[in-house]
């Protein structure tokens, strides 16, 4: 059990800076998730914490002890890898006991601990099999088992679910969270999948290009994204964005969407006349009332919920490079917005509908810095 601290940690490969000014403190027993698109440095940060990658600046503390100059074996951590990294020539039992054996534990204690961990992970029938004879989910549990028998100060997990199929991934996700709660071990988990981050984490660290964008709980990130990147990255389907001018007329602060007034918070009055980027989440759009009128370009029905697509008025679109979110699995279409609705109305393609963007649910971002404007 231990706290983890990153102080001004940096990593550069020659002149290329992979990670800069990484400051983070993780509480004892906390489940912390590093999330971001590929190449954002989240895995590098984890490997630096594990001692598998050298830091070029700053220091890392585990349990208050500076481990920056210690090897991975001396940091009292356990790690779960994306491809499990099980030793193919050893049985499950030997795989799980390997770390204890390397630390010179007596065979009887190794065996007792392995049996105990196997019971927790329901691996007892497979203890004498080789990894090859196991399914993906079982291998994944063996990798977890190898980590928990050691009773380390911290668990590090590098995309441990990405080799599993979708159904098993959801199941294992909750298993990991339950296990972590039960053992109370500080955990750092790396993923590119924001759904995993939102569902598992006590603390989410959103990263982009080696820089921390925002640290907070799932709710904080969802409700108060600090910048355009976090706003677009967190949530599925992602937040809708459109461009507009902040206007102030007769005490009413508003912008327009295709000619219709969209009321804004009064605190924006001082920025009247300036352009901004506005964001609203698909589930916050209210259908059937309001001043905005638009034709639906596509209706996707998922049974209970429906995703309605509609065009952003000409001149108000934002291209994807501005959002700087190049996630492959994000199917964002820069020309249209999406609303996520659960109601009984049967929507038709091409139907003209009324909708409202509630004032309290509109996020406003600076057009230059992309920082959120409060």
């Amino acid at each position: 059990m231990a706290t983890i601290e990153f102080n001004q940690v940096g990593k550069s490969y020659g002149s290329v800076e992979a990670i800069s000014d990484f400051n983070l403190s993780i509480e004892d027993g906390e489940f912390c998730v590093f999330v971001g698109p590929s190449g954002c440095g989240k895995s590098t940060a984890l490997k630096m914490l594990a001692g598998l990658e050298e830091t070029t600046k700053g220091n890392i503390l585990i349990g208050g002890k500076d481990v920056t100059d210690l090897g991975p074996g001396k940091r009292d951590i356990a790690m779960v890898f994306q491809n499990y990294a099980l030793y193919p020539h050893y049985s499950v039992r030997k795989n799980m006991g390997f770390g204890l054996k390397m630390r010179g534990y007596p065979a009887s204690e190794i065996n007792a601990r392995v049996e105990e961990a196997a019971k927790i992970l329901e691996l007892t029938p497979y203890l004498d099999r080789r990894p090859k004879a196991l399914s993906g989910g079982q291998r994944q549990r063996v990798a977890l088992g190898r980590a928990i028998v050691r009773e380390p100060a911290a668990f590090l997990m590098d995309e441990p679910l990405s080799n599993l199929d979708a159904k098993l991934r959801v199941h294992t996700r909750s298993e990991i969270v339950k296990l972590q709660r039960r053992l109370g071990v500080t955990s750092v988990y790396v993923t590119h999948d924001q759904v995993e981050a939102l569902t598992m984490a006590d603390k989410i660290v959103v990263m982009k290009l080696g820089v921390i964008q925002q640290v907070g709980s799932a709710d904080e990130l969802f409700e108060n994204p600090r910048n355009l990147f976090v706003a677009g990255f967190i949530g599925s389907p992602g937040m809708n964005f459109f461009r507009g001018t902040i206007q102030n007329a007769e005490g009413r602060v508003f912008t327009t969407f295709g000619g219709a007034e969209v009321p804004l918070s009064d605190t924006l009055a001082s920025r009247a006349g300036g352009d901004a980027i506005f964001g609203i989440r698909p589930e916050h759009i209210v259908m059937g009332k309001g001043k905005v009128e638009t034709g639906l370009s596509l209706v996707e029905s998922l049974g209970t919920e429906k995703i309605l697509h509609f065009q952003i008025p000409a001149g108000q679109t934002i291209d994807n490079s501005e959002i700087e979110n190049d996630e492959e699995d994000d199917d964002r279409d820069a020309q249209s917005m999406r609303a996520r609705i659960i109601d009984d109305h049967k929507y038709q393609n091409g139907e003209t509908v009324k909708m409202d963007f509630p004032r309290s649910k509109i996020h406003v971002f600076d057009i230059e810095t992309h920082e959120a404007i409060k």
């Binding site: 598998l52 790690m79 990294a85 030793y87």
Partner: protein, 297 residues
């Protein structure tokens, strides 16, 4: 006209395409083997295609199993195999481990290692023969001028020196191939296994023992089989260096086969030696390959 793209006929196209290669194999490999088995059971002096068959006899094998010459050759071959195979494997593995590390000039070092393998065998061995020459050779010169020996070593005429000279050249010629094979094997070991082992607290020797060695066993096995087979049939190195002498100390089965057939013109006996060599090679490769194939499964 058969449509080979249809699933029903697809396999026929496969057979059709492989047929020329199979026919070639049959002509240049299988037929000579059968022919030499046939000759080994006849008392043939000089074999001529189309000449009359001699009566069936097991005389050649009787001679073989009662002559000290055959057992000497067999013993020379086994010693060569163990010494050359073992040393080349260790040396090649060490080189592969070095070349697998990241360092400046690594590609140049890889080129240097592969060089002995790329030089034509006879050319290389002639150079070695000169370097090992007892009067003019550079080896004796170095050993004499550094004072390590007081009189020149007769590399080619002393039985022990001759044997180890042959071993030296064979290892020099053979290890690059092993090294490249093992290097490929090393590169296929997932980096994460090493990372997991270091997180588990294994030091560099423990990582070598618990990760590198088990992952490499199949490749090491294949390498040993290939080196063993190479030692069995290599002819040029021994022939150019010592011609099998002195007093038979380097006369391997391959040299003996040559001697019987083209120096004594006893084709029947030569064929018998060849057949025995073939059987030994088959047993050896079968045993090693299946053993190591099992360890990967």
């Amino acid at each position: 006209m058969i449509d080979f793209s249809s699933p029903r006929h697809r396999h026929k196209l496969g057979y059709l395409l492989i047929a020329p290669a199979l026919i070639m194999m049959a002509l240049i490999i299988v037929y000579p083997i059968l022919l030499s088995v046939d000759i080994s059971f006849q008392d043939v002096k000089i074999a001529r295609i189309g000449s009359d068959r001699k009566p069936f006899s097991i005389e050649n094998y009787e001679w073989l199993f009662t002559s000290g010459e055959f057992y000497n050759s067999l013993w020379v071959t086994v010693r060569l195999l163990l010494f050359v195979g073992g040393t080349a494997l260790i040396f090649g593995f060490a080189c592969a481990l070095l070349l697998n590390e990241k360092f400046k000039g690594r590609s140049f070092a890889r080129l240097l290692v592969i060089l002995p393998w790329a030089v034509p065998e006879v050319v290389a061995v002639v150079i070695w023969a000169w370097m090992l020459d007892s009067s003019f050779g550079v080896f004796n010169w170095i050993l004499l001028t550094t004072g390590m020996i007081s009189e020149p070593i007769a590399f080619a005429s002393d039985p022990t020196s001759a044997f180890f000279s042959v071993c030296l050249v064979m290892i020099w010629k053979g290890y690059p191939f092993i090294c490249i094979m093992l290097l490929a094997g090393l590169q296929s070991i997932p980096e994460e296994q090493y990372q997991a082992a270091s997180v588990d607290g294994a030091n560099v020797f423990q990582r070598f023992w618990h990760v590198t060695i088990p992952n490499m066993l199949p490749v090491l096995g294949v390498c040993f089989v290939m080196t063993a087979l190479w030692v069995f049939r290599d002819f040029a190195i021994i022939f150019v260096l010592t011609e099998g002498g002195p007093v038979g100390s380097t006369k391997s089965l391959a040299i003996m086969t040559f001697e019987q057939s083209f120096q004594f013109f006893r084709m029947g006996r030569a064929a018998a030696v060849g057949v025995i060599t073939l059987i030994l090679c088959a047993i050896l490769s079968r045993a090693l390959v299946s053993r190591f194939a099992k360890s990967v499964a």
